[in-house]
């Protein structure tokens, strides 16, 4: 068995436990979100096999650019490939919301945040599986020992969370209506592009290989800030889980502006 599969099992267990646990416990132990995680699992394979790969092959055949594609390919074609992931993956992650039972989970800001996180994390877990399958089929990697894939483990663990935040941005917009929904999906695409920009800049020979992680780390910090912002907004909602159990023992009115006394 290729070593990547052993690491993929470890990665999936760690990611599902960590991020599934985060969604479950921080959302107030609502199991509905765990079902949304499951619904996101097949979507990465779906978009890669049915949309991105056929589109890439069609355009490359039309332009006469045979695979394998890499730094020697034309810049316009690399840009096209770079845009495929944000443009198609973000809408595909939202497909489970076509089902009325999934839409019913979007009852408030907090619910939209956790539903989006669950869908994105599910997508991320599926993507980790799909990538492991692709790596196992590559003769160069197939015989490598499982413990040599720690880079895969670290990256996929973080990417699962990032997928969750991007989808949470989109779903938070969708909950508010058509206009904010479109803006939310566009924002998610923009964030996705930002996360991938390091690899793209390396392909374009703008930055060296060693620097590709810098934009990724910057994106990670930005998405944690966005996640915390979404949580703060959700926690201010009337009836938020943590607020509901609040008991005020004492409160003194502080007059910040003495003129108010008059």
């Amino acid at each position: 068995m290729p070593g990547i599969y052993v690491m993929a099992v470890i990665t999936l267990a760690a990611s599902a436990g960590l991020w599934g646990g985060l969604v479950y416990f921080l959302s107030g132990r609502r199991s509905a979100y765990l079902w949304l995680i499951l619904s996101g699992l097949p979507l990465s394979a779906l978009v890669n096999l049915c949309v991105k790969k056929p589109l890439g092959l069609t355009v490359s055949a039309w332009a006469g650019i045979p695979p394998p594609w890499g730094p020697t390919s034309p810049v316009w074609f690399l840009t096209f490939l770079f845009l495929l992931s944000p443009v198609f993956e973000e809408p595909v992650k939202l497909l489970p919301l076509l089902f009325p039972s999934a839409r019913r989970t979007l009852s408030g800001k907090g619910a939209a945040l956790w539903a989006g996180m669950a869908l994105g994390i599910g997508y991320g877990l599926g993507e980790a599986t799909y990538l492991a399958y692709g790596i196992a089929r590559n003769p160069h990697f197939a015989r490598m020992a499982w413990y040599l894939f720690t880079g895969y483990f670290g990256e996929r663990l973080i990417v699962c969370f990032l997928h969750g935040v991007m989808t949470a941005v989109a779903v938070s917009g969708i909950r508010r209506g058509l206009g904010p929904g479109v803006l939310g999906v566009l924002a998610a695409m923009g964030l996705h592009g930002l996360i991938n920009i390091g690899a793209a800049l390396y392909q374009f020979k703008v930055i060296p290989l060693a620097a590709t992680q810098l934009p990724f780390i910057a994106s990670l910090i930005l998405l944690v800030i966005i996640f915390e912002g979404l949580r703060r907004t959700a926690s201010r909602e009337p009836g938020a889980a943590d607020k509901a159990e609040e008991v005020v023992y004492y409160q003194r009115t502080v007059l910040r502006h003495p003129v108010e006394k008059a």
Partner: protein
């Protein structure tokens, strides 16, 4: 002239809710200290001495402070003294809150954030950022559940007295409300 009742001039000590915080502080550093000792005492003979020392000292240096914090865990307490509330955890943490500066006292669950802080299962110390109420100066045996928040103009403090009702009654009595 001092209007305080005789009982209010004496300090009264309240213990925190029991928790497994000490276990977190003991279990978490074990792998670091074990790894550190392995580097320092055994290690791989092919490894340069300087690298062995560096790895050993860093690993032990991460684990030891947590073990020291575990030693002080039973000493966590809340002291209601004349005119002030003192939150104390060994010699490393002392928050003094003037009773006259308290503007709100409430109990609630807090939404933990992803930002790093001294927060383990059963223990929260020092400044901890929360998604809903902002930064809280914690001296508590829980990081998020049933935290008694004491707010002043300048800061918010989080504690978990075992006898919450008794603590709040004594606090309000000393505040004169």
């Amino acid at each position: 002239m001092n209007d305080a009742l005789p009982s209010q001039t004496a300090s009264r000590i309240f213990k925190p809710r029991p928790s497994s915080g000490w276990l977190s502080l003991v279990l978490l550093p074990i792998p670091f200290i074990a790894l550190g000792l392995w580097f320092l005492l055994l290690g791989d003979p092919r490894m340069p001495l300087l690298v062995r020392l560096f790895n050993g000292i860093v690993c032990t240096g991460i684990g030891l402070p947590l073990l020291i914090l575990a030693f002080w865990f039973p000493g966590m307490r809340y002291v209601l003294g004349p005119g002030e509330l003192i939150l104390r955890y060994g010699p490393v943490l002392t928050y003094r809150i003037p009773l006259s500066g308290i503007i709100r006292v409430r109990r609630r669950n807090l939404a933990i954030s992803l930002w790093s802080s001294m927060r383990l299962p059963g223990l929260a110390l020092f400044k901890v950022p929360y998604s809903d109420v902002g930064t809280v100066r914690m001296c508590a045996t829980s990081a998020s559940r049933h935290i008694l928040l004491i707010e002043t103009e300048d800061a918010v403090y989080g504690l978990t007295p075992a006898d919450e009702e008794g603590f709040v009654a004594e606090l309000k009595s000393r505040m004169g409300v």
